[in-house]
Symmetry: C2
Subunit: 346 residues, 2 copies
DNA sequence: GTGATCGTTTGCATCGATGCAAGGCCCGGC
DNA sequence: GCCGGGCCTTGCATCGATGCAAACGATCAC
């Protein structure tokens, strides 16, 4: 059984190919009888659109690309899930690409490596794209997720990193913590901003400088969180009374390291993270975390893409430079055991 | 700057479009000078293939589709990552679809809903496809991942579920456990097989029937694992001395429930799972698990797809019925704290 | 009754690449 | 010197759908 094309349907229904196309695409000026007749043939023959052909002709494919560093990182997996769900509601299919945090790959994407197949690109970049690439305006719809671009020249959707970090640290301070370690500074812009949020909260709480400590890591992974805290515990500095991890993966690693060293959480050290990945509710003890609303992020990102598509859209032309909207999405603090210091009866 | 097409490159290089195509696709009979000249124009103009156009003409798109129930489930996220990596090595792009475990969606996929855009489909189905669909031979390359299809009529790659479950339970028995709960039976074929592996191991160890217990769940999630164990602990039956969870998500939920109830692991109850998700190394205590080799699964699945592509391939014709290879991939038991019963000094 | 308007349907060209097979060229063999 | 064959290169048709605009008949206003 070969493929069923519009031509086959047209013959079967006794109308022209164009009319079939009109029915399929929901063109309004089709008589009810014709529509019904065509619909019957459509069903009977089991017609399915060839998206490639349509994409070639119309310039729209119905795909968007989502590029994340590592799909296996829970945060990105959950983000991808939210994007796929939101896209599904709009009849859009998502092409997921894993950049492995390779800036070369990210550059290729920014350079348009996916534009033929995707109507737009959602990029969740780890490394900040090189400035020379960043300087150009891409000739296709692009929205950054979470990470700011150089000079903020691309639209971006995500939580306010500074505020999110500040919220977490303020909470730790409220629990009575003073010597709070910020875990996770690295080369990324997000790392810089979360560091700044930490500093703002520490300053606002008038915590003495001697108690400030920012610990660098390479990646925001469980391994790195584990290793960094392990090292911290083995050092001869005074123990912290809280760890603020820049994301939950780091926090999970930190929890494991503390557990392995017999340090009690939250009695000895409180812990908080950012992302509120599903895993966070199942750690020992359950992890306090700042929860971004992934559904909102996905929805807003798609809306911004569509806005751009409307302009540069089908013609595949570079439209007027898109205002680089920086959209901050809501987040909330989810308090769990890992930071219930006083209530833990210290 | 509009798109650069082959025609533009051809004009720039002073050759025909066909010759450009020959250079791009690596056709061998092109003179070195011509090749160099075309290559220069290619680079200079920044040509990028339009995969849609090629796909339309040649019938091959360079995409494969990967359908998993939930991308946010760690196992599937890690599997997807492995598939994307393996596909990348072959120059193939992966289209990830989330079926949400909806058998209707899975049926649509089996029915060919993705064939236009994808050269082949990797389906990791949760629900067993309805028999009427399963009875047909699909007219496109398809490989099942992990889950058996009805009657095994599709090629399938994955671990031997019975053996994997048996291995885990045998290990628990070796640790001295007898009253071992199997956690996770549900409607799935995988659930059935893992139950069977459990039963085989229990029988082989001559464990008295009174100690056998299979606990059903709806999904293999942390939530369900938590709820099921919670209920078990609140019941009036004798406590188990081990929990064998059908996957790690369930195990994580079980660990949390045990922790919350003050049951010590592994001193009071040993726990083991299947999948060896990254999270497993960071639970409290670290989780013993059966680790499938995802890279092998991904590689073999792609190889099987390519075999089928070779036959039904470009012509989009239904080839000879493909032998429904059932390929069992290697796995190994990773022993961690959660099951080190004796060594824990009970 | 006639021309304008609207709703419905159609034919043709086209998107950008590749399949196919022919055509030109150069070489060596007889 | 002519012919066969291999190596390069090319032109044309084509994949399956949609953009465009014309054609058609029916309805409407004057």
């Amino acid at each position: 059984m070969a493929r069923v094309r519009m031509r086959d349907v047209a013959e079967h229904a006794g109308v022209s190919v164009r009319t079939v196309s009109n029915v399929v695409s929901g063109y309004p000026h089709v008589s009810p009888e014709t529509r019904a007749k065509v619909q019957r043939s459509l069903d009977e023959l089991g017609y399915r659109m060839d998206y490639l052909a349509r994409g070639l002709r119309s310039g729209r494919t119905g795909f968007i690309a989502l590029a994340v560093p590592f799909l296996a990182e829970p945060y990105f997996a959950e983000l991808a899930q939210a994007v796929i769900r939101a896209a599904g509601r709009r009849g859009i299919t998502v092409l997921v690409e894993a950049t492995a945090g390779d800036s070369e790959v990210e550059r290729r994407i920014l350079d348009g490596g996916l534009t033929n197949v995707a109507d737009g690109v959602l990029l969740s970049a780890l490394t900040v794209p090189a400035a020379d690439v960043g300087a150009r305006t891409p000739d296709f719809p692009l929205v950054m997720l979470g990470e700011h671009s150089v000079g903020n020249q691309f639209p971006r959707v995500g939580i306010d990193n500074v505020a999110a970090a500040r919220t977490a640290v303020e909470h730790l301070v409220e629990q009575g913590c003073r010597r709070i370690v910020a875990l996770g500074r690295n080369g990324s812009e997000n790392g810089r901003q979360r560091t700044e949020g930490y500093q703002q909260a520490m300053a606002a709480a008038r915590v003495r400088r001697v108690n400030w400590l920012v610990v660098p890591v390479e990646d925001w992974t469980r391994e790195q969180g584990y290793a960094a805290v392990r090292e911290l515990l083995e050092g001869d500095g005074p123990l912290p009374d809280a760890v603020f991890a820049f994301n939950d993966a780091l926090a999970v690693g930190a929890l494991r390291a503390l557990d392995a060293s017999g340090v009690r959480v939250p009695e000895d050290v409180a812990v908080a993270g950012i992302d509120d990945i599903q895993e966070a509710a199942y750690t020992h003890p359950p992890l306090t975390s700042v929860a971004p609303d992934l559904d909102v992020i996905a929805e807003r990102a798609l809306a911004l893409l569509e806005e751009q598509t409307g302009r540069s859209g089908a013609a595949r032309e570079a439209g007027a430079p898109v205002a680089a909207v920086q959209e901050a999405t809501p987040f909330r603090l989810v308090v769990r055991e890992s930071s219930r210091w006083r209530s833990a009866g210290r």
